[in-house]
Amino acid sequence: MSAGSTTATVLAADWDQLTPELWLSFQQTVYMVVWTMLIAGLLGLVLGVALYTTRRGGLFQNAPSFGVLNVLVNIIRPIPFIIFITAVGPLTLLVMGTTIGTRSVLFPMSFMATFVIGRIVEQNLVSVDPGVVEAARAMGASRFRIVWSVLVPEALGPLILGYTFIFIAVVDMSAMAGYVGGGGLGNFAITYGYQQFDWPVTLVTVVIIIVIVQAAQLLGNRLARIALRR
């Protein structure tokens, strides 16, 4: 590999082997990101609504509940994800039966993403005009009804943008999950690019990730615009 003239042939040979590997990694990334977005998207929505409604003046005002949730979010969110994966290892083992593999990293990923999404959902709900909530209460709407028929629809545009932002963070997380055997594009770039000193492989992976992120951002922006066109 030292001679410049042989590099091209080595690379060409590499891609023959690497392409199926890359395709598999791509599928693994999609698997991790989609499942995390589904699980954490739902749980994070619940957490965000809980944070927003239990705070002072909220529909379900409850200082102890808000305090606990708030502290929990503040503790978990800043932990670097790569450390978080290993820290919750025992819990992952308990829940998923293993700590290795693409499926098992869904646990730490969904766990962390739930807390990140929770905070983002809460912040977007704060932007909803409290007068609108009062109007719904004055009409006799139940508190749960207000959550799903007023709060969420009124904040839908910003929520979509928030979820788009999270999607990108989850792609980032999935790359780190590769470190503990999660597979995926991150793992691919490290194993075949970084560790093999094969910069083009890393570059190709990065381009694929950029394309995924751009597509997500484009879709998110478009959906948000539709939601905001009122």
């Binding site: 005009d129 007068g131 609108v132 009062e134 109007a135 009409m139 139940s142 009122r230």
Partner: protein
């Protein structure tokens, strides 16, 4: 007629900083009869909003009681509260429309809560939009409407379930004068045609004078004066009511105005109250035309309040001091008179 809304020593305290508490509403006794339009007036922070929100149980009294339609709000469970609220409509200063729903969607919302089937809902929404005159806007979103149109939607939404009580919290304060007039006429029509009892919070005299039957004046959480609009404003018993009446009507010259008047009218300045008493008004004219004293109109005006004359006129009186004294005494015998500069 039994009152449809009764406050009995109703008090609302909010927890304040450092364990203290703030009394937004302080031992209020107030009865509101069915079919009347009552104005709640007072300076901001007087407790008007909290008082009105105790009617639809958005606020519950911390002591005393509020009875609405025979139901004591403090004794209702969550379901009872929701039923009560569904029967009391409310419109807001900032309209509080759902930005994510169309005009029709906004008006349909309370009907959805009440569990109306889709086709009945649609018919009722059409009827309501027709009533408030915005049928052609049904498919638009609130941010495409003007302030007056938004408030019409707010009113249609508040009327959807045919409530017998309608609360209006500064419903016209965000509107220009012309639109205010339209919305007030609409509220009047609702009261006349549907027999709805209406409680309006306002700081605008126009609202009180053009639609209210009765008025309650609030200061620091208390209702300090209550009664028919004309009686309360024409003859206020409380200093705070007088202050309010003067500030919103600007019916007598301010100290600055008096100073300016003084430059041109060095004589004695006397403000004479004009009220609903044709005999007294005729007598006033007679007294003022007495020959020894020269009287010049320098300030004031007479308008209608609850369809009756209401106002003050300030005169400069010059001539023999004793003759002026006699004239002021004669005026005082017939109406309220105040010498503002001598």
């Amino acid at each position: 007629m039994a009152p449809v809304i009764s406050f009995r020593r109703a008090t609302k305290e909010f927890p304040g900083a450092g364990g203290s508490s703030f009394r937004a509403v302080d031992e209020v006794d107030l009865d509101i009869d069915a079919g009347e339009i009552t104005g709640v007036v007072g300076y901001s922070g007087a407790g008007k909003s909290t008082l009105v929100r105790m009617i639809n149980a958005l606020e519950l009294p911390t002591s005393g009681s509020v009875t609405v339609d025979g139901r004591v709000t403090g004794e209702l469970g969550e379901r009872g509260l929701r039923n009560l609220r569904a029967q009391v409509g409310m419109v807001f200063q900032q309209f509080n429309l759902f930005a994510s729903r169309t005009v029709a969607g906004n008006v349909a919302y309370p009907l959805r809560i009440a569990g109306w089937p889709r086709d009945r809902r649609r018919a009722r929404v059409a009827e309501l939009l027709e009533f408030v005159g915005i049928t052609e806007k049904a498919r638009q979103y609130p941010n495409q409407l003007s302030g007056g149109q938004k408030q019409r939607v707010g009113i249609a939404r508040a009327l959807a379930t045919s409530p017998n009580i309608l609360l209006a919290d500064e419903a016209t304060s965000a509107l220009d004068p012309e639109t205010t007039g339209e919305v007030l006429r609409l509220l009047r029509r609702i009261n006349r045609e549907l027999g709805t009892t209406i409680v309006v919070i306002t700081h605008e005299m126009e609202v009180v004078s053009s639609i209210c039957d009765r008025v309650a004046v609030m200061e620091r959480g208390r209702v300090i004066e209550e009664g028919p609009v004309y009686e309360v404003f024409a003859d206020p018993q409380q200093a705070a009511t007088r202050r309010f009446v003067h500030s919103v009507l600007s019916d007598r010259p301010s100290p600055e105005t008096v100073q300016r008047l003084r430059e041109h009218f060095p004589g004695r300045l006397v403000t004479v109250w004009v009220r609903d008493d044709p005999g007294a008004r005729a007598a006033l004219a007679e007294v003022l035309s007495a020959s020894e004293v020269r009287s010049t109109i320098v300030y004031g005006g007479i308008r209608e309040l609850a369809e009756k004359p209401f106002g003050t006129v300030t005169f400069e009186l010059s001539g023999d001091d004793r003759a002026i004294d006699a004239m002021v005494a004669e005026l005082t015998a017939r109406t309220h008179v105040e010498e503002i500069a001598s």
